[in-house]
Symmetry: C3
Subunit: 206 residues, 3 copies
């Protein structure tokens, strides 16, 4: 997949994740600064942990100021629109979020791979990129991260990551492996949204 | 502003932030170790995230052990005094905290600037340095960070940062830009404390 | 102490900490992914913060994929066994955890020392390695970290660290200093478990 396409999807995911941060801030009755913080951590929190762990310094949003501008624009835009417009159709945000998640998964795994990490580390880095920001957002909003509890979200990431690993082992090109990863994760997530699928809870233990 | 003055103010802010961590630990009925941890994360948490993101390694308190000694001294001192002395006047700690906040803002922005970051990143790094530690402290105490909810705190930082950016664009010296940043942030924060100002909450949504 | 022994104990501690993460996830009714996340943060969270702060990049588990495999094995194993086997004797997990804690303390302090950190930083890095992961685990499970409240856990680490510093100042070999650190921390922790010792809470203030 061309770098320009990936970069566009990366910025799209960044904006969507920022908006999801603003929505949580709004539900938790935070102020504008709270909304900006939650937008930032959701959009760039996962990639920040990834880059710090990989030793990719400075982290991506320090090197390229565009990410923060996208977050600022998406946040202020959604704060302004929050009360002035009819709510968008209910499926819109989850579907956009699924696209962002699938893209972040592929970007994270590919970055770790470029840094020479073992495959299990690359898949983990993809999951951190896709899920880490939302987890920090939920911790700041003082709730157990949703992704740990109920959703086929991380699972979609992981399966996408395994498809990516398989494609690379089978010597498909990076472009094909990345496309397969994104489409697999996206498809699983959309099916889970459509049919309200979730993983079983662990047995109650003690 | 001279480096010695900034360094002194840095250590002053470190001590004040450590004491604020001890006070939260005490209210949450933690033990002495809990007090030390909350003192550390409040005092150096923000700067640690900043240095990790900038790729300034090792982070500042690893390079110079003095920061941890100041935190240790301030924490043990305030634990010892906690019950043995009359409480200080109620305005003392918030005012001291405002000084620390304004100084940390300027230090964070300047450090990012020295590392060649874009201006939006430098201002963000200032806010992280000033507000990040208190946010981690609140998360460890299992509450939504105060700064996300009710106070003109981060806003004072951001306005200070914008004044700093404007001063640099207008080709004032680093010393003048830094002084203007600190005084602006401090003044706004003190006015907010005096008149109990806070930002409006976001509209309740959904 | 030989490097092979330390490395074996390191992997042992990693597995034990992972299992403790799975148990918390199970009590909080998380799903399998939540269990894997809590296993990972408990087992490698502390060492990750340590390596990021020291500038040891990439962090240890990125360099060596074995850590993630051990966590994956320990987590899946304990999830499978959770309901199918009689619970192990109640003392088993705390004692195993104490061994992991003591070893992580020594590993963290030694790594900082090799990077040339001041002694106060080295002891702090040991405590971060031993206690940091459990603190992140508790934050993700939305509770105040246990270690900040009630247990002689961090205290055991710190005393072990002071013994290690004393041994190095007295020019004992690294092996002896490390062994003394591990045995001291372990002994204090085991005594605290056996006799239910805990630190006093800070005086209720304000």
């Amino acid at each position: 997949m061309g770098n320009a396409i990936i970069f566009s999807l990366d910025l799209f995911g960044t904006a969507i994740f920022a908006i999801s941060g603003v929505l949580i801030a709004s539900r938790r009755r935070m102020d504008l600064f709270g909304a900006l913080v939650l937008a930032c951590v959701t959009a760039i929190g996962g990639g920040t942990i990834r880059d710090m762990a990989l030793g990719a310094s400075p982290v991506f949003w320090v090197e390229n100021g565009l990410y923060l501008w996208v977050i600022l624009g998406a946040s202020l835009g959604s704060v302004l629109l929050l009360n002035n417009f009819p709510t968008p159709p209910r499926w819109l945000l989850p579907v956009a979020d699924a696209i962002g998640m699938a893209v972040f998964m592929a970007i994270g795994a590919n970055k770790a791979y470029q840094y020479g990490s073992p495959m299990i580390v690359a898949v983990t880095m993809g999951v951190i990129t896709a899920c880490g920001g939302g987890m920090i957002r939920d911790v700041l909003a003082n709730q157990v991260p949703l992704v740990l509890q109920r959703e086929v979200y991380a699972t979609a990431c992981i399966v996408g990551g395994l498809v990516w690993v398989a494609a690379l082992y089978l010597q498909f090109s990076d472009t094909i492996a990345t496309s397969a990863c994104i489409l697999t994760a996206l498809l699983i997530r959309l099916v889970a949204i459509r049919y309200h699928l979730s993983l079983p809870k662990l047995a109650k233990n003690r």
